[in-house]
Symmetry: C2
Subunit: 371 residues, 2 copies
């Protein structure tokens, strides 16, 4: 478990860090954004394109893969990497977030969660041990403990119960975890309470994990509150371990997260936006299906070097969306993921060069986020 994360540089003006996550499927340069491949594929893009774009790691949802096709089938196929034809790093979440957000939840108790599948209504039980077992069978490089998420707003009682339960489950997961090849990350909860967040961080670190996620954020709370929660947790996280802000993927929040010491991010936003005709550009988002682009024969972003921007016009992409063509989703996904990879490269470059404060200021003044 030692030596699986290397901090190459720490910013002299912020908590930002440049690092490398060493996995069984190659090194991942951090800060990194991880696209989401819910059912064993990042939606609307093939793995060779992901590789070409420069994606180093993506995330699959253990909840979805457990229900279909099932972790036994994946293991029989030779593990998740071979099954989906991806030889770089993978992370699976525990399934907890989906159980709380997608299913007819039947019961949460101190030992686990009982829920009905969103696919066929069948009854399932997920415990911290079972979450580790499922993810061990799937074989991703980084796996997550089962946690209990509360929404926003939540009562302080709910927040406390979920935080305590997550800690209890963290201990169970830690004990159940035996894989040599994989890393297990703990998850800090605590809702929007500074006190709970600090306590959760301290206790999670005391249990000891290969990395630490900050969960339960980006669930509807104001951005400043999210940043405050990261700031109050950060001092309690060990410098030598990676930190992962779950569910955050808009460009501004990523830059702000890196500023506050976060190394890893994931979100469906870039890929979901793409399928909804919303494209990231160097000056902010762009809804390509608007009438103003009907006869706009320039590229989506003249500063972008992706397959879309090198070969196709705004007018053509708009036409594809209007015509309901699958290629629209693919091209927009390629573009948005290329944008994210390039953003993270720029961040790492700035950290390496010691000018991350200037980068952040310039980025925030240029990029208008109206999400």
């Amino acid at each position: 478990m030692q030596g699986r994360f290397t901090v190459l540089a720490v910013d002299h003006e912020s908590q930002a860090r440049l690092g490398i996550l060493h996995t069984a499927h190659g090194d991942v340069e951090t800060p990194v954004f991880m696209p989401v491949g819910t059912q064993g594929t990042v939606k609307a893009i093939a793995p060779d394109r992901l590789r070409e774009i420069g994606v180093q790691i993506f995330l699959c949802n253990a909840y979805h893969l457990h229900l279909r096709p099932g972790e036994d089938l994946v293991r029989e196929a030779g593990g998740l990497h071979r099954f989906i034809s991806w030889d770089r790093a993978l992370l699976t979440d525990s399934g907890g977030f989906q159980v709380f957000s997608l299913t007819d939840l039947v019961r949460v108790d101190d030992e686990g969660v009982t829920f009905r599948s969103h696919l066929d209504g069948s009854l399932h039980r997920l415990t911290p041990q079972e979450a580790v077992r499922i993810q061990t069978a799937l074989g991703a490089d980084v796996i997550m403990i089962l946690d209990q998420c509360v929404g926003f707003p939540a009562s302080s009682y709910e927040e406390r119960v979920a935080t305590e339960r997550t800690l209890r489950w963290a201990r169970c997961a830690r004990e159940a975890f035996q894989s040599e090849e994989q890393m297990l990350f703990g998850i800090v909860q605590g809702g929007t309470s500074r006190e709970l967040r600090e306590w959760s961080a301290q206790e999670t670190v005391r249990i000891g994990f290969d990395g630490y996620a900050i969960g339960g954020l980006s669930v509807g709370e104001p951005k400043p509150l999210m940043y405050e929660m990261i700031e109050c947790v950060e001092p309690f996280l060990p410098v030598e371990k990676p930190r992962y802000l779950m569910g955050v993927g808009n460009p501004v929040s990523i830059v702000e997260g890196v500023w506050r010491g976060v190394d890893m991010f994931d979100c469906v936003l870039p890929t979901r936006n793409a399928r909804n005709a919303c494209l990231f550009t160097s000056w902010g988002k762009m809804n390509i299906d608007r009438l103003e682009f009907a006869r706009d024969f320039g590229p989506v972003d003249p500063d972008c070097g992706c397959y879309l921007c090198r070969n196709f016009s705004r007018a053509y992409l708009r036409h594809l969306f209007k015509a309901g063509e699958i290629l629209a989703a693919e091209l927009a996904t390629i573009h948005n993921l290329y944008f994210m990879v390039k953003l993270m490269k720029s961040i790492r470059h700035a950290l390496r060069g010691g000018y991350f404060r200037e980068f952040r200021e310039e980025f925030l003044s240029r990029y208008s986020e109206n999400f």
Copy 2:
């Protein structure tokens, strides 16, 4: 108009020919299968993949592009090739088939067709001259005259009226056509009547076109009847011009069409089948969503060298279809088009080597078609 098609070899045992169609966007080796890119994209596949697979030409529907985004926009974009980012050959159909099959047809008269758009119900008029104008503006390398298609079965009266009208329209189209860069193909009609087919062929050739299509087949008639119609038309088509059997795309019919002297084919079948989980293999079709493939970790076709078969298993592709992932459509489309390109390459190889009869026999005994 001379020298746009070269016959390299004629089979000594059949009417089959090996040739090259010389277009403003490169040479196309014949016999060739043309995938269909209705709205300016072959569904579920990007043009760089088409190129990689070896597709030399595909077809776009003038009807669809006329209604959306409109030929004026396409011309403003620099023409169809530039608009859709495809620098190899393109063919557009006249829109006639779609007008007769997709729209609320208002009226057919000797001068053209009045119909309501399938998109918004708006009233449109298509004449032979207008079909040439639209396709000239779009800028495909091969364009087609407006023809009147009858279904199967049709009365002999209907067949005769449509054949006469198509000839009338063919003369109008020929007169209206002035493009230097493009080729104009006539279309032989005549339903299932040998007499009408022969007459239509003779008269169409008398008008004189860069190539001759056989239309109004593959509309529900028995296969032997389709082959009979090709056979009775073939002797009247000039050897030095390309022949195009419209709407035919299943592998057996292609081999049989080539045997009877056809050089070009198009059909939505390989791409539509792909999106419906039906894959072509060297022994016939395969419905990959069947339960028997759930734990089948071998490739779809061990003899296939496509991106799908080199990287993914039957079990994974089935999972993608079951999960409703877009990647399923893309991978299956790549595979089916690769299959078609390889089939046409094998046919050309056999013609070059002088063993097409043996190839045909071997193919028909091996390939079971249950379409």
